[in-house]
């Protein structure tokens, strides 16, 4: 950067960009810490307290929903990685026309407008008696995780050199042994990335959770959305819950940033 107006202009731009990104966060954080009176004009709340967080965490409904979200996210991660990893290995190695046609199909699935599937998937789940069950909701999430997981995992398998497998084949290894003993150990970073992708896709998902849950499996996003339609909105408490809901993402924040910089998680965590 040259001298003169350059430096102050850049500083101003950086300041404005941070205002854009952080204002709603800081404001909601203030409200989540506010005592009895919420500010009705520009200014800070007059007393700060952690009571709202305590209030949120001791609410049975809230921690039930947090637990549900985590259980469903773990199940969805398990189902989607166990099904997509073997498939993506085949897609990476096979040159058959069937495989490449299927792969293209999965690309189409990735960009699919999920709303078009909402009603029939509700019917199918009802028919299998999977409505309002952990398995049902996590399968609902899995349907839109698998296509993305397959494409990314295929990318990782493409990087594993084929020579290793060729020598293993000469030693008489079957494809299953090849995958578990030779290829997977080399693709562990990819598996970690895909598991995180699956976990966060499920954790943030709203539409299918809304449709497929009723009473027992209500997830955090569904519960939180419901609070906004209540007659008297409890801003302090729901701001506190919003802050608490970020914990899993904050825990993996540096991972998330680096994955997203590689374009890896694009399309995840979207409304």
């Amino acid at each position: 950067m040259k001298g003169g107006w350059g430096v102050p202009l850049v500083a101003l731009a950086i300041f404005l960009l941070l205002v854009w990104a952080l204002t709603p966060v800081v404001y909601a954080m203030l409200i989540s810490l506010a005592g009895f009176d919420l500010p009705t004009k520009l200014g800070l709340p007059n007393d700060l307290t952690f009571a709202n967080y305590l209030d949120a965490l001791t609410d049975r409904e809230v921690y039930r929903a947090m637990a549900n979200s985590l259980i469903i996210a773990v199940l969805a991660t398990a189902i989607s990685t166990f099904s997509s990893i073997p498939a993506s290995y085949v897609f990476s190695r096979s040159q058959s026309r069937v495989a490449s046609a299927l792969l293209l199909l999965f690309l189409f699935f990735r960009l699919f407008p999920w709303i078009a599937l909402a009603f029939p998937i509700f019917l199918v789940m009802a028919r299998f008696r999977l409505l309002d069950t952990y398995l049902g909701v996590s399968i609902g999430h899995t349907v839109w995780i698998i296509p993305t997981a397959i494409w990314y995992m295929k990318g990782f398998f493409d990087l594993v050199p084929k020579e290793l497998e060729e020598s293993a084949v000469l030693d008489g290894a079957t494809p299953f042994v090849l995958l578990t003993k030779v290829v997977l150990p080399l693709a562990i970073p990819g598996m970690v990335a895909v598991s995180l992708l699956a976990f966060f896709s499920s954790y943030t998902e709203y539409l299918y959770s809304l449709i497929l849950t009723r009473v027992h499996t209500v997830t955090l996003p569904v519960l939180m959305a419901g609070y906004l339609s209540e007659f008297k909105v409890e801003w302090r408490k729901i701001s506190a819950i919003s802050m608490l809901s970020t914990i899993p993402m904050l825990a993996f924040y540096s991972y998330l940033l680096s994955y997203m910089r590689r374009g890896l998680l694009y399309g995840v965590m979207k409304g």
Binding site: A21, L38, Y206
Partner: protein, 286 residues
């Protein structure tokens, strides 16, 4: 090996089975239902051909929804991409503290859509919202932003723009960092200023990546449902009704599965149109 071996088929089977039962079969149902007069309220289930599509496409509601979707898409695509572009270019030049900037500027990604909806509903809320506090401080008067037909759609679109900014930023930044260094170094030798570098070298080289990010963002906003649904439910009235929200309302609020499915297929057609543009564009980039 031009054919799929048995072992390979076994490895693909689990993923394929899930997609067949919970994707292919339901999408088949959607197509089928879209051809029926199928309503829980009117207790009908009869074949009517393309009548549902004609009904949707000729309705005032469709015109309204299409216009709303356009406004929603333009605001929540253009705004974050421009902001993200400025942020990514600045970061690319590595000013002091750029790492901290990246971490802070990307912070919205830790919020799930429901939290984002709460954050922004709070910003816009009437006695307690910051937007109203600011408006009052500048003498503009308070508004009920999300309940006013004139402001509801722009208000939720801005929330969505906020949510989409870090994604666009990180992708554009990655794009910038993947560009070859030689042209920039050459321009430095020629004594180009930072602005000249941006205008004549970085922007033209970034353009193909920028269009891909733009198209991906376009698809994500066209098909996004959560934020609008949670903040306004498409209202007040039809003021913020977009394609996915209209689809949801037809099936789950009016229990008209025939019309709902037709709306759903219209969504698919729109998104597929954009998808083809992406695939075609990617081929050009690679």
């Amino acid at each position: 090996m031009r054919r799929l071996t048995l072992d390979q088929a076994v490895l693909i089977a689990p993923a394929l089975a899930i997609m067949l039962v919970f994707f292919a079969y339901p999408i088949g149902l959607t197509v089928y239902f879209s051809l029926l007069d199928y309503s829980l309220m009117r207790r009908t289930k009869a074949f009517v051909g393309l009548a549902n599509y004609l009904h949707v496409l000729q309705s005032d509601l469709f015109v309204r929804t299409a216009t709303n979707t356009l406004v929603w898409v333009v605001i929540s695509t253009v705004l974050p991409l421009l902001i993200a572009l400025v942020a990514a270019l600045l970061t690319y030049f590595r000013f002091r503290g750029y790492r901290a900037f990246t971490a802070l500027f990307s912070l919205p990604i830790v919020f799930i859509p429901s939290s984002t909806a709460i954050l922004w509903a709070l910003m816009y809320s009437d006695p307690f919202g910051l937007v109203n506090h600011l408006c009052e401080a500048f003498g503009l008067g308070r508004r009920i932003w999300l309940a006013d037909p004139a402001t509801a759609l722009p208000a939720v679109s801005i929330a969505n723009a906020w949510y989409g900014t870090p994604f666009a930023y990180l992708m554009l930044l990655a794009g910038l960092e993947s560009l070859p260094l030689e042209p920039i170094e050459a321009s430095e030798v020629d004594g180009a200023s930072s602005l000249q570098k941006v205008r004549y070298i970085l922007l033209p080289m970034l353009w193909p990546i920028f269009t891909v990010v733009f198209l991906l963002r376009l698809i994500d906003t066209v098909r996004s449902f959560a934020l609008i649904w949670i903040m306004t439910q498409g209202g007040p009235g039809t003021a913020s009704l977009t394609l996915p929200v209209a689809t949801f309302k037809a099936s789950f609020l009016q229990y008209d599965y025939g019309l709902g499915s037709a709306w759903g297929i219209i969504n698919v057609i729109v998104v597929m149109g954009i998808s083809f543009a992406i695939v075609w564009r990617r081929r050009e980039v690679e």
